[in-house]
Amino acid sequence: MSARLSLIVPFLLVAGLVAIFLIFRPFDRLSQGTPPSEDISIEFVKIDAEGFHVSVRAAGSEPVSVAQVQVDSAYRTFTQTPPGPISHLGSAVFLIPYSWINGDTYHLRFVTRSGLTFDHTIEAAIVTPTHDVANLLSLALIGLFVGVVPILIGYAFYPGLVSFGEQGRHFAMALTIGLLVFLLLDTLQEGLDVAATAISSLKATTAVWLGGLVTLLTLLAIGRRSGKPPEGVSLALFIAIGIGIHNLGEGLAIGASFAVGEVALASFLVLGFAIHNVTEGIAILAPVRRENVSPFLLIGLALIAGAPASLGTIVGTFAVSPFWTALAFGVGAGAILQVIIEVGSAMQRSTSGATQIWFSRAGISGFLGGIVVMFATAFLIQG
């Protein structure tokens, strides 16, 4: 047998192992009498004049039969589409006709065949935005307000900063790193939080970490495909991409808040993110030399970094599974980490003093300043 053909052997062995498990069921003795594990996750609630339309996904080891539904501890009539048990990872929509009151809180409870209960709270009932052209435009506009406009405003800091010469540029880059470190932690945290709400068998938490890692390596490879790290406008582009993916996540958060009726939270998020994102304008331009700045470049970078917020706001109002949202945050975190690495490397290269640049007055004050600014403006986005 040739060496290459022998590669088939381990595959056969694995198949044999699976067969032994399926045929002899060696662990059945241990699981005897264990009731089937029923698990469902309530993924999305659409509210309209009819009542509540609830998307439910089954996650347990066996199909789940939802037998009855309660609203605020009262059994309610409902219709299920498609009817019958929900298969593993399958989903169904429950229409619960209800004369709901605008702005009120409602507690939904799903009772399964075995009597297990799964709860979901509608924080404030409001008609789920319909996806007509006017509403989509409005949502896109919110995205622009959150993503693009603040970045353009942030640009206004640039001339002032570079007027300080090398020191100013170092400060701006260190500030950028500070901002990005905050965004990295924040994005990861968001991703992990959302992942926790996804059904466990999808391994959403792992997806956040792996999504981040793969993105980081991919962007590093693309950035350094010519053999040297990106700098100048090219580095600015990567910063814009990283921030863009992060802003996609912000947009999703805003859109989702609208969709689930947390309009007060959503409008608060809009203002908070907008102020927060002004700093992103400084970050994008930090590696760019003054002579390279053109209006097209400025607007182009602002769109790359900001427009994804529009996309996110719109997508977020649809029934997005927590898994994909979590993965988006993971990808965003990876992109931000790549930018941190590249900005750091650019900063180090910009001076012969190498690592000492980190501990210069501009380096330390910039880095800490970035974190403090983000932390302070983040208070504006308390949910």
Partner: protein
Amino acid sequence: MMAGSTNLLKRLLSRRGLLKAGLATGTGALVSGTAAARLGSGVTPADALLDSRAIGRTDGRIPGSFQNASSYTGVPGHGAFGENSVVGEVDHARNGFDPYDMLTDWETGIVTTAPDGQVVRTFNVTAVDKDIEIAPGVFFPAWTYNGRVPGPALRATEGELIRIHFMNEGSHPHTMHFHGIHAANMDGVPGAGEVIPGDEFTYEFFAEPFGCHLYHCHSFPFKRHLHRGLYGAFIVDPDPARHPEFEDVAQSRLLGSPENRQWQEFVMVMNGFDTNFDDDNEIYAVNSIAFAFEKKPVRITRDKPVRIYLVNITEFDPINSFHLHANFFNYYDHGTTLEPTHKTIDTVMQCQAQRGIIEFTFEDHGPGMYMFHAHQAEFAELGWMAHFEVV
């Protein structure tokens, strides 16, 4: 209606302010309702709210409109905004018991007379584990007496010698603890009449005092043995010969007597089920099945008075209650008196294991659907909701 060219953002940003102002002035729902109606399409409940506010109502309902109209007629229908009920039907045949039949299903045992003239009444009761459907599609791993929850409604007459042959075919030790007067070794508690699986025991005592009583398992863990379904009514009818001063009343309570046949008698055991074992009931009912008597109202005629033997064996909640619509009743706490302990009331509460007899008549009423339910609204909405169909 479409959002049109109105700026969503502007509305959203201003909504928070409006909401705050609204909370202060009490018009918040009105203001935000407008915003919501615009945001979506078509007529929303918020619009209905708007209209009802405009005509001075504060409950968000339009008089005489859709809301649960069917509940008041007792006719299962489909309101515009759904109903407070369960979806589907319980398979009573598979359960092996029907809550409706249980209302009048008295277990009177086998009656013999000893050589000395003592009347002896013998019952056979077997404990078995059984999954029962307590609401459509919701199954509960019950422990039962004779395969039903509540267990058989044992009925005897004051002064009889009672013998209960108890067999345990369940998976845990069980007892039958009677609320009555008996010797310590007949108490049906661990150490006195507890029966291990596969074994049996005969409880023996005189039926006294007369009244509306109950029996239940008293094995440990006590709470779990109770809420798993091991309980039932134990009715002791008064012996008219022992109560000359109230002989007619005693006669009417004596099952099978001519006076008793002038009554419509029902036994109702108020119970609950903690289906997810979090020490809080997900289902409340009379005779176990949620909304059973809403889906099939209890039919009564106007020409005979009604007597209900009411027992509360609800676990976890300290009290349960019975409330009758459009009428009042007399109440005999524990059923141990022949004169009412409460006269002309329409709501009575019972703590855990408390019970009593309710008597009323609908002779002066028109025919129709008359609601009765726990006046803990939570219990009612979780299944303890019912109707009398008066004909």
